[in-house]
């Protein structure tokens, strides 16, 4: 089967001639439909840079990223906008909700942008809010709900369009363990039941243990990768800690 996403020899450098800083180099990997991939690595390893490039809000210095055989950084602006609208869903660490819209309006924003009929919007929003357990909060404003609820709203917004690829940048970074577990279980469920493809950047081994496959990055280069296969989540968590210990990443946020 053709991979959904193909990353080929990505390199990203910052700065000019004398003071260049290489954030990423020689990154290649494939992601197939229905995978739940975690990207791990110590701070400054280039995780977020990689995700930003997959999200098309940043572009690589060298190399190409193909999605369904289309090089996403060679698209024109308008086509790129459509591409993002139809294929991608984002969950950020700092939520990025619009404070002036209600929870419901925040969730339906991408549907409104995609010009989905109002009737359909209502049923889609109701369904996704049930998945994330926020159906009672729909009329509230972001400043009236907790951080965990905000993040679930942001996740609902990212997933309501049923995107081909969901990108999450440290989605549990600002959450307490209960809220984090709720969110991760929801994502995990979506991955299993709907065959959604999810890619999540995290430095938290606990969050990563919900993934099916983990790619480790260190100093801007691919380090290793592990698959969960049939292990229990706890066993996988232990394996992640072991890998982190060998590649020298920080180990924190233990359960």
């Amino acid at each position: 089967m053709e991979p959904l996403l193909k990353v080929e020899n990505i390199k990203k450098t910052y700065g000019k001639s004398s003071a260049t800083y290489t954030a990423l180099e020689n990154i290649s990997f494939d992601i197939h439909e229905g995978e739940f991939v975690g990207i791990m690595g110590p701070s400054g390893a280039g995780k977020s840079t990689l995700l930003n490039m997959l999200a098309t809000i940043d572009s690589p210095t060298e190399g190409k990223i193909y999605m369904n055989d289309t090089s996403i950084h060679d698209m024109k602006e308008a086509a790129l906008a459509d591409f993002r609208r139809d294929n991608l869903g984002f969950i950020f660490q700092d939520y990025n909700l619009l404070d002036s819209l209600t929870v419901k309006e925040n969730i339906l924003l991408p549907l409104a942008i995609a010009k989905i009929p109002a009737k359909e919007i209502n049923s889609l929003v109701t369904r996704i809010s049930k998945v994330f357990g926020i159906e009672d909060l729909l009329a509230k404003y972001p400043y009236q709900i907790s951080g965990g609820q905000k993040q679930r709203t942001a996740a609902a917004r990212a997933l309501v369009t049923e995107p081909v690829l969901i990108l999450a940048d440290e989605p549990t970074g600002a959450l307490d363990s209960k809220s984090a577990t709720d969110l991760l279980e929801s994502l995990s469920k979506l991955n299993e039941n709907n065959n959604s493809t999810i890619m999540m950047v995290t430095h938290d081994a606990y969050a990563a243990s919900f993934c099916r496959r983990i790619i480790f990055i260190k100093d801007g280069a691919l380090s290793t990768e592990i698959y969960r296969r049939d292990q229990t989540r706890k066993a996988f968590f232990q394996e992640i800690l072991d890998v982190l210990a060998t590649i020298g990443g920080e180990v924190d946020d233990v359960i």
Partner: protein
């Protein structure tokens, strides 16, 4: 639900942000519309038919107004757009095309502009009567301002502002194309390098300002520099050195001072002093350009306002100096005198005096005089007795004139251009010589009727009677002489009577200076509002950027009171350092202006400066309050 309806909802719920923007646009429109209404007003036009200058003056002022209004709106627009970056970025990320976002911003901006235009014209219409009343009052008229809507003023305003709005809307449209998506998300997170103060640049800045000041303080007529370099060039040099110097001052000197403060650890490491000083160090240099603009704007406003207000303030004094008597004319025949007496009801005094008009040979004056003048001058001559009689009535000092000597009464005396009277001798055609023992800068006879007068001894006067034409003048003093009385008298008198009238002179003077004062204050108000709002917007943008820092402090247990104190002192520096520099600049400019016009401006200028500072201070209070609100609100929601 469409994107546009969501965007509309966003406007409605973010109304406070939009309100600020709409309010600044409405304010600009009200000011401009009112001003143009006055320009087109029939009432003002009729009243000032005599002074055609007002119309061109107002047209010129309108152009300046457009200029400032445009800058002001562009500034508030960019501030407003900055606040929406995140929203715009989110739309883009969710897959809205740039074109669509651009159009949304364009039409939203245009719509806001049109709403403000409607509100502004209505408010401006309501305000115009008030402003017209002020103008009419300042010009010394006694009519009631009409309440009329001027169609041409509305059209003029609409055209000017539509153009401005189209331009700013286009800027909004371009916003999305100007930034990369990643910058929109991480714009505020980028760190700036902490500036390193440079001693040399600091010294250079102070030096430039000193040069500018020194040049400005030179006497325009006698200075070698002004003569050599040329008037226009010197003025330009002064402007350039002072503005560049001001910029360097903010760029380096303040940094330098703050760096010195930073060395004093005992003071610095106490409470939030560290935070305050570091923030300032970080801000002042980055804002050097804005601070320079503020200082220069303040200086311009205070200087023009101060100058015009001084003229207004001194009008009465000048009229009193030139017209020591309420009325004066040359007596022709008894009939006219009777007619005048019939018009006059109550007088303080009403005297008839004898004077001579004598042509003198004044060759001796021309030595060391800048401007060449003729060798012959005609003076009005009176004797000591007449002078002392009038001086007593007018409450002036008595005078004693020695035999063969004289005292000249020259109110326009200026040591730079006037002859050095003292000790000089002038002769009549028959070689009767008189020598000036002194001169006086005040007179007892109205200058408009007699020109420069010379007082001689009683005996000398008799001698001179042979040589000059004998004239009779009637001098009249009236308490609170009215312009109506003056007009009645003028009607009775022929042109040759050289009628001079204090109320008429006052009216003419106040008409011109009053409208100047009005335009000056009006523009001053606009400049002030623009200056205040620019800092307000600037500081609040910084507040948005810094609120996370204050949240950290809040979490570290810093009390709200301490934070308020730190904020107040930071904003104080941003507000009042440029004000102080601006006031210093204008003080120097006004000093130059006062020595140019030989007027003492200290009091009116001080009044003007205090008024400016007070209104400016209100902006400061408003800004600090808004800043605190942003911080406390953030601390409350972020916990």
């Amino acid at each position: 639900m469409t994107l546009f309806s969501l965007a509309r909802k966003n406007i409605a719920r973010n109304f406070s942000q939009y309100f600020l923007y709409i309010a600044s646009m409405v304010f600009s429109i009200v000011i401009y519309f009112t001003f143009v209404t006055l320009k087109y007003s029939d009432t003002i036009a009729e009243k000032t038919a005599s002074s055609q200058k007002l119309d061109s003056l107002m047209s010129g002022a309108a152009v300046i107004l457009i200029f400032f209004v445009a800058i002001f709106i562009a500034y508030s627009n960019s501030f407003f757009m900055k606040k929406r970056k995140k929203e715009v970025a989110l739309y883009a990320l969710l897959g809205v095309r740039n074109r669509q976002i651009g159009f949304m911003l364009f039409f939203e901006n245009l719509l806001l502009g049109l709403v403000s235009l409607g509100v502004g014209v209505v408010l401006g219409f309501l305000c115009s009567k008030g402003f017209m009343t002020i103008l009419i009052h300042l010009m010394g008229y006694d009519v009631i301002a009409p309440f009329t809507f001027s169609g041409s003023a509305a059209l003029n305003t609409a055209i000017v502002f539509l153009i401005i709005f189209l331009v700013t809307s286009f800027q909004g449209y371009r916003l999305i194309y100007q930034f990369k998506l990643i910058d929109l998300f991480h714009a505020s997170k980028k760190g700036e390098a902490v500036p390193k103060p440079s001693m040399i640049v600091a010294i250079f800045g102070v030096l430039l300002i000193a040069i500018g000041y020194w040049l400005a303080m030179q006497d325009i007529y006698t200075s070698k520099v002004w003569e050599k370099v040329g008037f226009l060039m010197t003025a330009l040099i002064i402007l350039t050195t002072v503005i560049v110097g001001t910029f360097l001052l903010f760029h380096s000197v303040t940094d330098f001072l703050l760096a010195v403060i930073k060395k004093n650890e005992r003071w610095l490491w106490k409470g939030l002093h560290l935070m305050t000083i570091s923030q300032l160090l970080y801000r002042v240099r980055g804002n050097a350009r804005t601070l320079t603009v503020i200082a220069v704007l303040s200086a311009t406003t205070v200087t023009t306002g101060g100058a015009v207000y001084s003229l207004y303030y001194n009008t009465n004094d000048q009229v009193m100096t030139a017209n020591p008597n309420s009325f004066m004319y040359e007596q022709m025949d008894a009939k006219t005198d009777q007619q005048i007496s019939a018009v006059l009801s109550e007088t303080k005094y009403d005297e008839s005096i004898e004077a001579l008009s004598v042509t003198f040979n004044t060759k001796e004056f021309n030595e060391a005089l800048i401007f060449n003048s003729s060798d012959k001058r005609i003076y009005t001559v009176i004797n000591e007795k007449t002078y002392n009689k009038l001086a007593a009535i007018q409450g002036k000092e008595k005078l004693h004139v020695n035999e063969d000597n004289a005292v000249i009464l020259d109110i326009g005396y200026d040591k730079r251009f006037s002859p050095k009277y003292k000790g000089k001798t002038i002769t009549t055609e028959n070689n009767t010589a008189i020598t000036f023992q002194s001169f006086k800068k005040q007179t007892v006879l109205n200058v408009g009727t007699v020109g420069i007068a010379v007082v001689v001894s009683n005996d000398q006067f008799k001698t001179l009677q042979e040589e000059g034409e004998v004239l009779k003048y009637r001098v009249i003093g009236v308490d609170q002489a009215s312009i109506d009385l003056s007009k009645k008298m003028a009607k009775e008198l022929p042109e040759e009577a050289l009628f001079s009238s204090a109320p008429q002179d006052f009216q003419t003077g106040i008409e011109i200076v009053g409208s100047l004062l009005f335009i000056g204050s009006f523009l001053g108000l606009v400049f002030l509002a623009a200056t205040g709002s620019i800092i307000y917007f600037k500081v609040l943008t910084e507040a948005e950027e810094d609120k996370s820092q204050y949240n950290i402090l809040h979490k570290m247990g810093v009390s709200a009171k301490e934070m308020r104190k730190s904020i107040a002192s930071q904003v104080f520096v941003i507000f009042f350092v440029p004000l102080a520099v601006g006031l210093l600049h204008s003080a120097i400019a006004l000093k130059a202006f006062s020595s140019l016009l030989m007027l003492d401006l200290a009091k009116p200028v001080l009044i003007w400066m205090i008024a400016y500072t007070v209104i400016y201070g209100l902006y400061y209070i408003l800004t600090v309050a808004s800043y605190n609100r942003i911080i406390t609100q953030n601390n409350r929601t972020e916990g």
